[in-house]
Subunit: 546 residues, 2 copies
């Protein structure tokens, strides 16, 4: 068995190591265009900012180590120029000598990754403009930022753009972040990204949403960015992080099927349209377990697993990839944003029925010092209660709750299962009713009809709401800010003030986070009123209102 692997970073390196563990006899050739294999992709921004001090830390393994430990035939600085699937051969160019030669294979695994997109803007190829993909890129950027620059600009407010902006901020470099859309972190729902926007601004990052760069000019000291909004911006360097494009040209020219989303098509065995060729990682399209749609997923975890699976199958096994949930996380200046499963906008786009809850808990018991607040949002099926997606933003403990929801989605659990979850509780780690239980209580109450709830969007819609808006917080909370047109009767005084409320109009009650609003709704409905709780309370209103 002769296995040839194209690409030696996450998916390719995993496939190679797995293949060797499965077969001592197989001839395994790993061809990598760059000088390195298996580097810590996700660590690159932190090396720029100096969080990761030593460049060596970014090197997960060396070609030499792969050779000795896994007896791999590692060929770096070698580019696979073409594939001849009929004769099971590839043409490889040695990028140092320029020599081109043929290599045969029994099975081929493609792990070419994805390349950063460079927008077609006049001046995009000027010096001082960078993308970030590999160690060579990071060396160039590091050299530039260590040269005492006056100002940096990041184009693109996605996961990598934010990580770069954070690290430039660590270096105390005045930074502008330009994002074309009206929100950061495109895959997430807009309201859940607002605390991240606020954090960036609080740290002095100049974030410009709904902005773009239309032209770039060279100046004496750096660059001038001509902006879509009309103005311009002087900057020392421009870091472009607006997305990546799967590297499919090799696969395409070999006649392999390319999926609708632009990635290499594979089946659940990671097999391409040619039965001897497999593909993994950022270059392929895979199906989303919740949405069912095909998409390109740029995550190291899935790439590693796909590599294992492709190796299994290339060597005659039967391993299957179940699809992705799109679990993702980003840390920005002490805050965390994370998601798993489907976002609300993806469900809307897919025309899928759903309901949602917001809660605003702390990561651990409030009576123990150091509790940090977060907002969690959960999407679920309105009939069955199956969990469709979760998003979180805040301080400590967001990662834990999103991981729990990720597992719940994988297990096809429902909101009723969340009610029952028995999670670690001691005051430093959680609460007797963990935020995850709370998500379950609220959502299950909605499905059971015990907790009639309306989304804030009804109130915020342009038609306006016909509800009687009732603020059940204290007078003090009300005075600090409330929904326009709301009447204030605190929940503790509600029972003795029922005569002040309308019998012929629906009452929409709210509090700060939703709990008192829930009790108020229970009181009102049992007293003959038509009442609903405004989900997630005033804190959710603040996230949703513009």
């Amino acid at each position: 068995m002769k296995l040839l692997i194209v690409g030696g970073v996450a998916g390719g390196a995993s496939a190679a190591a797995r293949a060797r563990r499965l077969s001592e006899d197989a001839e395994i050739i790993l061809v990598e265009r760059g000088p390195e294999v298996s580097f810590a992709n996700c660590g690159l921004p932190y090396y720029i900012g100096g969080e990761i001090k030593s460049r060596d830390k970014l090197v997960v393994t060396t070609p030499e180590r792969l050779r000795t430990r896994f007896t791999l035939d590692v060929r770096t600085q070698s580019n696979v120029e073409s594939i001849d699937p009929t004769n099971r051969k590839v043409r490889i160019k040695n990028l140092i000598t320029g020599d081109v030669y043929e290599e045969s294979y029994d099975r081929l695994i493609l792990a070419p990754g994805a390349a950063p997109v460079r927008p077609t803007i006049e001046g995009i190829d000027l010096p001082g403009i960078y993308t970030l993909r590999n160690l060579q890129d990071v060396d160039r950027i590091k050299q530039r930022v260590d040269g005492n620059i006056k100002h940096a600009t990041v184009l693109g407010g996605g996961f990598i753009g934010l990580e770069v902006a954070e690290n430039l901020n660590h270096l105390k470099i005045p930074t502008t972040l330009i994002e074309r859309n009206r929100q950061l972190l495109g895959p997430m729902d807009a309201e859940m990204t607002k605390p991240i926007l606020q954090t960036l601004r609080d740290h002095g990052v100049d974030v410009r949403l709904g902005e773009n760069v239309v032209k770039i000019e060279k100046t004496d000291h750096g660059l001038r960015l001509i902006l879509g909004s009309g103005g311009s911006l002087e900057t020392s360097m421009l870091m472009v992080g607006i997305g990546v494009k799967p590297e499919v040209s090799l696969a395409e020219s070999a006649g392999l099927r390319i999926g609708k989303s632009g990635g290499i098509w594979v089946d659940e065995h990671m097999r391409t349209s040619d039965r001897d060729i497999f593909a993994v990682g950022d270059a392929i399209e895979i199906s989303h377990v919740v949405l069912g749609e095909q998409s390109i997923v740029l995550l190291a975890g899935p790439a590693n697993r796909q590599g294992r699976i492709a190796a299994d199958n290339a060597l005659g096994g039967d391993s299957r990839y179940r699809g992705t949930q799109g679990t993702a996380i980003v840390g920005v200046l002490g805050k965390t944003a994370a998601m798993t499963g489907a976002s609300e906008k993806a469900l809307v786009r897919a025309g899928r029925a759903f309901r949602k809850v917001y809660i605003h808990p702390t990561d651990h018991a409030g009576y123990y010092p150091g509790a940090e607040s977060m907002t969690l949002k959960m999407l679920f099926d309105p009939a069955t209660g199956e969990i469709l997606g979760g998003e979180g933003v805040g301080g400590a403990g967001v990662d834990k709750r999103i991981d729990i929801l990720a597992v719940a989605i994988q297990a096809e659990m429902t909101v009723f299962d969340l009610e029952e979850m028995e999670l670690c509780y001691s005051p430093q780690y959680g609460s007797a009713k963990d935020p995850i239980n709370m998500l379950g209580f609220v959502a299950a109450g909605m499905i059971r009809g015990q907790h009639p709830q309306t989304d804030m969007e009804g109130f915020l819609s342009s038609d306006g709401s016909t509800d009687y808006i009732l603020d059940v917080r204290t007078q003090e909370e009300f005075d600090r800010g409330h929904l326009p047109g709301a009447t204030n009767i605190s929940v503790d005084e509600l029972r003795s003030n029922l005569d002040r409320l309308p019998k012929d109009q629906r009452i929409a009650a709210y509090c700060q986070v939703g709990q008192r609003g829930y009790l108020a709704t229970r009181i009102l409905n049992q007293s003959g009123f038509d009442a609903v709780n405004m989900g997630g309370g005033y804190k959710t209103y603040q996230l949703l209102a513009d």
Copy 2:
């Protein structure tokens, strides 16, 4: 509907609030022996140590607030003396006035809790000896420790004992911890508690395992503890935390069924043997979802959920409790120990077939600063791969992994599902192959037969091992310490040294944590040797060896 609830802390208070949300009309009486309701039980040790500075923080809610918000008839300092189930009446004694009166009920919920066990030792009632159950206890202890004491002793190395010892250590009070058994944290497997023992000792706590107190004498300055081992110990105060006993006397005298484990028997609706009486919390026995056996579980989370369920059913609903997993966690001087599901010793006791894995990962990617190490142990069904239990000990991130395993057990997931889990990964939060995935890889490889593994216990057993012990770490690692009798050939040199190995003897290979040992096993088995990997490597050996 007249609902009477006995006990106003976790389960009782939850039941009362839930009942009111379900029914505005119900008459709800909450009878509590102490002066407070719903205090933060789990926070008491941290108030002693000053982590929680204000006593007010321990008061979750007040009788007054329950009255106004939930219109409950709260009667503190009132003791229910007896129940007359036939006539659905209780006798209540007002502990202030001494008056005794009758109160009727339609439904009764018992949430009496459990009382700390005081061992029958001569001198146990001397001044300076404390147990910790409520705010009055904590006030007494706080007064004592704030009085500049010279030395404190904690009797019992369970969860609460360790929390108290930690807090005494915070106060820089020289402390001795005495535990009768040969290990701390009885519910966990002994080897998983060793890092906690080490941490306590590193911080100067004088931990004595396999020790007990047989007599207590009063001295001029405090107490003299006469020890089972023969010596004695001068101490200023003794904190007794050797366990609790469910308060079943009220239920027992009312003729309610008491379970084998000594708790009040209830069905899945939390209903006792009398159909109008429910019981919840520390006083009842519930079934363990993995082991099936009945036990008493002293956890706030389950108590709260049981309270909700009892209220639902008392008011005519149909809510069911699924049983407990025994998820528990404790923080000790910067280290965390946690468990969920069945321990190894519980599985052995139950005669249940299982296999196990140990891994020693870091909480996040090693290339990002601040990674902390942990040990995870997982028990699973050898045939189906169903997860039976998990334990963790170490630094950051233990709570997250045990929570994930708790959800996996709840969902009846297998080790194959762990391989596929798509968890949050960014270098601050996890690894591309999360520790949870690694547990899955190792365990699934064992079941698939790709990863022949033997437990360290075979080597450690008194018969001795007949295996050829092969250390595949580097010479340097080997020189720092290795298994007695092991031969060292590093994995990278293994292929060229196969002729040094026996063909007629099983080879048991090991490395530091298990990964290189796994590769070595693959190499050896494919080269015609009979080889197994010693699960968890040298780190596991260090935990298991005495």
